[in-house]
Amino acid sequence: MEYLIIIISAIFVNNILLAQFLGCCPFLGVSNKLSTAVGMSGAVCFVITLSTLVTYLLQYYVLVPLHIEFMQTITFILVIAALVQMVEIILKKISPSLYQALGIFLPLITTNCAVLGIALIVVTKEFTFGGEPHMLNLAESVVYAFASSLGFGLAMILFAGLREQIALNKVPKPFRGIPIALVTASILAMAFMGFSGMV
């Protein structure tokens, strides 16, 4: 039950893009086409889940025992950068077809704030999820990270679909490009506000 609440909360209610503004750069940058949006979402899903797992273990089994929590930001970002590199290399060897689909997005992901953001959130923020406020445990963290990245994918794919439609219309000159995309995002965010208070 609690996991269900975590998943619904992370995908719809506190959508990582439309409510928390994490990962806005790819959201606005690579959402022109549906196919790229799908590729980007897949890569983000993969990296967020994996990096959260690693940084969670790093936080509680290395940083906290050594009392060097202040190195959190620097170690997390290094781990994420290394992880992205590794995923790229492994993917290239094991599954060239998957690498073809996701490969070009991987280098962009290191500086996607959603990845570092989720990694930091799970070790710093107290969550409630229908019970007492508590820090997340390993399983909850990974589920939360995965659900958040699904939320990223959902928003991203919806948004890319909308933008493909808008591209066919005549838009006033100053609105072309990013401004009309932002107006669309605003309406999409408003739609997602309908979920607020659900869990």
């Binding site: 609440i5 506190n14 202040f70 190195m71 620097i74 290094l78 923020k125 107290e126 969550f127 409630t128 229908g130 019970g131 007492e132 406020p133 208070g197 659900m198 869990v199």
Partner: protein
């Protein structure tokens, strides 16, 4: 190549450790000043430094502060929290020796700016100034209580009330020496519909209890 990256990492972490040591004391001082300010805000004038004590509850160890004036205990400052809309709402609640809520102060909250975050503003928070828990029903009006909820932020308002209720439960335990019963307070702000109806029942029960207590008092 690896060497130069290693050197950068080494210098970087050395620098960080240095700044960490330098700013450690000011950071602690800032945190302490925040707690002390909160205590001063929620209790009447007292001398010296409030004494920090801890109490065991079923939810873990909770620390509270005892303030005294000329050797006489004038009140307790209790930290308590409850689940709000987007995270815990945590309060410092000042309760005088005769059981009156003197004032409350928000220690931390992550509620929506412009909505739930208004719980820090006097319009809402001043309802908990000089509040006699025996004469006021500590629940939002929607739940049959006496507290005006913040417009469009019932969940935050419930959390605030629940935190005050928790603080009162802890206070009761401090005074009587028992284990605080925080079940009612904690379940009120739950956002799950099933739990919500349970909370409503609980709130109604509290209301009923208060009414019963009042009748009992009148009968005396």
């Amino acid at each position: 190549m690896v060497l130069s990256l290693g050197v950068i990492c080494l210098v970087g972490s050395g620098l960080l450790a240095g700044v960490y040591v330098l700013t450690k004391d000011p950071i602690e001082a800032a945190a302490e000043a925040k707690t002390n300010n909160a205590i001063r805000q929620v209790l009447p004038e007292f001398d010296g430094v409030p004494e920090q004590k801890t109490i065991e509850t079923d939810g873990g160890t909770i620390s509270y502060y005892v303030a005294s004036n000329a050797g006489e205990v004038i009140g307790y400052a209790v930290t308590a929290s409850a689940s709000g809309f987007s995270g815990p709402v945590s309060l410092m609640v000042g309760i005088t020796a005769d059981g009156i809520v003197y004032n409350t102060s928000v220690l931390s909250q992550s509620e929506t700016p412009g909505l739930g975050a208004k719980c820090t503003e006097p319009a809402f928070a001043d309802q908990f100034k000089n509040l006699n828990p025996a004469a006021t029903k500590l629940a939002v009006k929607k739940d049959g209580g006496d507290i005006d909820a913040i417009t469009a932020s019932t969940i935050t308002s419930r959390a605030y009330v629940a935190a005050v209720n928790n603080a009162l439960a802890i206070y009761q335990a401090i005074v009587s020496g028992g284990v605080p019963d925080m079940s009612t307070g904690a379940s009120v702000p739950t956002e799950d519909p099933a739990a919500q109806s349970a909370a409503d029942t609980a709130a109604a029960q509290t209301a009923g209890d208060t009414a019963a207590a009042q009748t009992a008092e009148e009968n005396k």
